[in-house]
């Protein structure tokens, strides 16, 4: 048991504990903060696996972007101090049973699969230069086509978000009329 494995168990405990609290907490704002801790733990796991670039992306996009977006939407739509309705006890029992059985089943498959026991001894090179060269390369094993497709997807998602969340025009006009009438 050296320091590396102790670190791994600590990071795993953080990820799973914060994850469980994120799905069981009755206050929605606390659930969001536990989700934040879980995502930070996953970034730590990436650092532990020495894929620093993915860890940085995880922190920038998930912790800095998605969780902040979720917290904003909680403030816009919820009374964040209020406790949420607890799920029915039967539903909790059967969901927990399903999750436990699923974990046991999949872990049983993983443990008995032989291919996972022979890990490759080749060196792992994941510096940013390698990633950038391969991502923008047009030869085989280059990822330029999915890169362009995903950039189109991001543009479409951005436009779609603005269109969906925009207040319709007639609603704005009615509100202004109501305000003038009140005055």
């Amino acid at each position: 048991m050296n320091i590396s494995s102790i670190l791994f168990y600590a990071i795993s405990a953080l990820i799973l504990g914060a994850g469980i609290l994120a799905v069981t907490s009755v206050k929605i704002f606390r659930a969001a903060i536990w989700l934040l801790f879980s995502l930070v733990g996953i970034a730590a796991l990436y650092f532990w696996m020495q894929v620093e670039f993915i860890a940085a992306i995880q922190i920038v996009v998930y912790v800095g972007g998605i969780v902040v977006l979720i917290i904003f939407s909680i403030f816009l739509t919820q009374n964040s101090g209020k406790e949420m309705v607890k799920p029915a006890i039967g539903k909790v029992i059967f969901s927990a049973l399903a999750a436990l059985l699923g974990t046991a089943f999949v872990y049983n498959l993983i443990v008995h699969y032989e291919g996972f026991k022979y890990i490759s001894a080749k060196p792992f090179n994941s510096n940013v230069e390698e990633i950038g060269t391969q991502m923008l390369s047009t030869t085989s094993y280059g990822f330029i086509l999915p890169f362009e497709a995903v950039s189109m997807l991001l543009l479409a998602a951005m436009v779609g978000c603005i269109v969906i969340a925009m207040r319709p025009n007639n609603e704005v006009e009615t509100n202004t009329i109501n305000k003038t009438e009140n005055n």
Binding site: I15, I57, Q58, M84, S95, A99, K117, F124, C161, I162
Partner: protein, 106 residues
């Protein structure tokens, strides 16, 4: 360096447990934002799998890293669209509970 100490199956156990924690949240929560949070947990467990397979089984390639990068991108787009829908739903129904939005159920 740390590969001899921790076998791949233990990392896969973490990601499996995280996936089923997310599934439990998806089953028990009735609030759209918390359901979105459960989906984020499930997507992250898949990302751990890709990175672990890439590092342990195919260290001379980088394909798992690219899959993770694209999944993170798509998850960001998905979260943004989902929150736009949630805000629109809140505006029309004054609630983001899934039980209150049943117009298209039947």
């Amino acid at each position: 360096m740390n590969m001899q100490e921790i076998p791949l199956t233990q990392i896969l156990f973490v990601s499996t447990a995280l996936f089923f924690i997310g599934m439990y949240g998806l089953f028990t929560r009735r609030n759209l934002i918390t359901m979105l949070m459960s989906i984020e947990l499930m997507l992250n467990s898949v990302n751990i799998n890709f990175i672990a397979f890439n590092k342990y089984l195919f260290p001379d390639k980088l394909d798992g890293l690219f899959f993770t990068l694209f999944i993170i991108t798509i998850a960001a787009a998905e979260a943004a669209v989902a929150i736009a829908i949630i805000i629109n739903l809140y505006r029309s129904h004054n609630s983001i509970d899934v039980e209150d939005a049943t117009e298209m159920k039947y």
